[in-house]
């Protein structure tokens, strides 16, 4: 029973095995390991070879291959027998219709009921090859697609401590294949160290982040970095790099333009302020002009009465003296002396009155010529006259404290606005006087030097420190306390001299004094 059973089992297993072989799509050849001749072949084998079973069985298995492959077929068989293990290779094969195909051939040594056999399984690889070719074409297509992207694309495996570059497209390679980058050894994935400034970073909505990297060589790149899982489900870092050099350049240029614009606006504003200052000053001068005119009138009338009356006194005393000489009242010597003393003291004060009257007249005249009621008129004047009338006006400030030395050289009259030029002298003289704390000297020099009328006003005052010197012509700049200085004096001087086509120069030694030099065109 048991034997029967076993035989039955064996029969069943063989049946199953046979069915399996028959059913297989691959061509299967069972080969005797001793002789190499085919013992069995399945249906697929018959179809593949296009031969009848009798034509195959008994033939050496390698003879199934075309002649040029027979040696390899033999070798394959020999190796299978020798190595006793499976081996797989690709072989050429000529189909019954003459078509040449590639076969995937697997050989393995087996023992079947104590007999050694080699099973050779052949599978038509055409389809697989085609699939693989297509696969390759597809990946080539994608690669080209990625290469042709206008942005650099790089992929790194992100988990490692030193991320390995998995992919970089051509654009990315080209971007960093420049002399500038190569020269400094910069690569796309390691250019942080060479960065010129902190990167500008922005996290985008989709979780990637963008970072602008500006290299020391001036190139700027925009990195957009995101993390994705690759086919093996591992995190990798996908970096898109855009060359922002030009754009950054444009932005910088724009910024530069903005800055220049802003500077220009500031410049204009300053000019406007200057003009306003001048205008305010002109207005001040105009109202000063009418004020002076009124004052001159108001003073001259009573002054006329005073000087005339004083003159009358002088004349009257002369007459009185003559009268007394012929009168018997003074025949008495003592009496005559008393009369003389009274008359002499009157003489003395009337002469003082006369001087005082002349002084007042002078001041009023200076004030008048300083304010120049005909202020809008250009005139040919000797500016030394202007210096003199200005000096009269500031004399109260200089008196006893400051000595004025005049070194007037010959100068021709020049065409100018006399009131404005006088104001220049006024401002310079007042400044000089202010600079002299105790006692000192103001020297005024005039000269004709090669087509220029030169006026130099020097003082032995405090001088101007080097760091202050560039600022003194700025409107509003003053080192005098508020309420004392307005800081407008020199800016007006500068403007007036400029309007006259002239120049103004300063030289100063702190502790020793200052010289302002004005040059006005002589013609």
């Amino acid at each position: 029973m048991s034997t029967n059973n076993e035989i039955e089992k064996l029969r069943e297993s063989e049946e199953r095995y046979r069915t399996m072989i028959e059913m297989a799509c691959d061509a299967i050849f069972v080969v005797d390991a001793e002789s190499g001749s085919v013992c069995e072949v399945n249906q697929s084998g018959l179809i593949m070879t296009g031969l009848a079973i009798e034509e195959i069985v008994g033939r050496p298995v390698w003879e199934l291959f075309p002649e040029d492959e027979r040696d390899r077929g033999r070798e394959l068989f020999d190796t299978a027998v020798r190595e006793e293990r499976g081996r797989r290779t690709s072989m050429h094969f000529v189909r019954p219709d003459g078509g040449r195909v590639t076969l995937d051939v697997t050989t393995a040594l087996m023992r079947l009921s104590g007999r050694k056999i080699v099973v050779q399984v052949c599978r038509d690889a055409t389809e697989r090859d085609e699939f693989e070719r297509q696969q390759a074409r597809l990946s080539q297509y994608y690669e080209r697609l990625l290469d042709s992207l206008p942005v650099g694309l790089g992929i790194r495996a992100a988990i490692n401590a030193t991320p390995k570059i998995e992919f970089e497209n051509q654009t990315l390679k080209r971007m960093f294949d420049t002399a500038a980058c190569k020269g400094s050894g910069i690569t796309w994935d390691a250019c942080r160290a060479d960065m010129d400034e902190q990167p500008r970073i922005a996290i985008t909505d989709d979780g990637s982040y963008a970072e602008e990297r500006r290299l020391a060589n001036g190139q700027t790149f925009l990195y957009t970095i995101s993390y994705v899982r690759d086919l093996l489900d591992q995190w990798c870092e996908v970096t898109i790099v855009q060359d922002f050099t030009r754009r950054r350049q444009l932005e910088d240029d724009l910024e530069q333009v903005n800055r220049t614009l802003e500077a220009r606006v500031q410049e204009r504003t300053r000019e406007l302020e200057e003009k306003q200052t001048q205008l305010a000053q002109a207005e001040k001068m105009a109202s000063l002009g009418s004020l002076v005119a009124g004052v001159a009138h108001e003073i001259n009338t009573p002054l006329g009465a005073l000087t005339s009356n004083n003159d009358l006194f002088i004349r009257a005393i002369v007459r009185l003296k003559k009268l007394l000489d012929t009168s018997e009242v003074t025949s008495d010597a003592a009496m005559k002396e008393r009369f003389d003393r009274i008359l002499d003291s009157i003489d003395e004060v009337t002469s003082v009155n006369k001087t005082a009257g002349e002084r007042i007249k002078n001041i009023v005249n200076s004030l008048r010529s300083f304010a120049r009621l005909d202020r809008s008129e250009k005139d040919r004047v000797d500016i030394r006259d202007g210096l003199e009338s200005t000096l009269t006006l500031v004399s109260h400030e200089l008196k006893n404290r400051v000595e004025v030395v005049r070194r007037y050289g010959d100068i021709p009259p020049i065409n100018c606005f006399p009131n404005q030029i006088n104001q220049v002298f006024m401002n310079l003289l007042v400044n000089a006087s202010h600079a002299i704390k105790d006692k000192g000297v103001i020297t005024i020099r005039t000269a004709l030097e090669g087509g220029w009328v030169v006026v130099e006003i020097s003082d032995t005052g405090s001088g101007i420190p080097k760091d202050v010197l560039p600022k003194i012509f700025d409107p509003g700049f003053t080192t005098k306390g508020s309420g004392v200085g307005t800081g407008l004096g020199l800016s007006i001087v500068h403007q007036i001299i400029q309007d006259h086509g002239g120049k103004i120069l300063v030289t100063s030694k702190p502790g020793e004094g200052t010289t302002f030099r004005i040059e006005l065109p002589a013609r």
């Binding site: 009138h297 001259n300 002054l303 003159d311 007459r319 009257g357 007249k361 009023v364 008048r368």
Partner: protein
């Protein structure tokens, strides 16, 4: 009047002075009274002065420039209408030569004097004014004489014609 002490005896005449300031009038009047034989008529108001000038014989007029009711230039222009032969002098405290000179040409002024004035200058100007006025008067007399003589001659001529024709 201290006519005996006058150094300019024989040159007397009448001067009209107008100024809105009493002190100026007093000063001028005192000075001229001391130094000259002129008869000085002084007025604070230009209108009153005009009335006087219309009714009296005068030789020189001197007026202030700036005055409240009527300015010196208008006043002197009026004087010119009444007595064109009288020299007119403006006294100005305004110290505006250009305006004054313009006025001299417009109104035909004889002279202008700036305040504060110099008494010697004032005397010379007044004397010259008087002299001018005197010569003008003389000229006028001569013209009248000639006119009269001519009239007589003409009358004679008519009579002769009448007699012979």
């Amino acid at each position: 009047m201290t006519a005996s002490s006058n150094t300019d005896a024989g040159r007397s005449g009448t001067i009209v002075i107008v100024d809105d300031e009493e002190m100026v009038l007093t000063s001028l009047r005192s000075f001229l009274t001391l130094e000259t034989d002129y008869e000085v008529q002084s007025f604070l108001s230009a209108k009153e002065a005009l009335q006087y000038i219309g009714a009296n014989d005068i030789d020189v007029v001197m007026s202030d420039y700036l005055m409240p009711e009527m300015d010196g230039i208008s006043f002197l222009a009026e004087v010119k209408k009444i007595r064109p032969e009288v020299p007119r002098i403006i006294l100005t405290g305004y110290a505006d030569k250009e305006n004054a000179i313009k006025a001299i040409n417009d109104v035909g002024l004889f002279q202008y004097i700036e305040k504060p004035w110099d008494n010697d200058d004032l005397l010379i100007i007044l004397r010259n004014g008087m002299e001018k006025q005197r010569l003008m008067k003389k000229l006028q007399q001569k013209i009248e004489e000639i006119n009269r003589a001519y009239g007589e001659l003409e009358g004679l001529h008519k009579e002769i014609v009448k007699t012979f024709v």
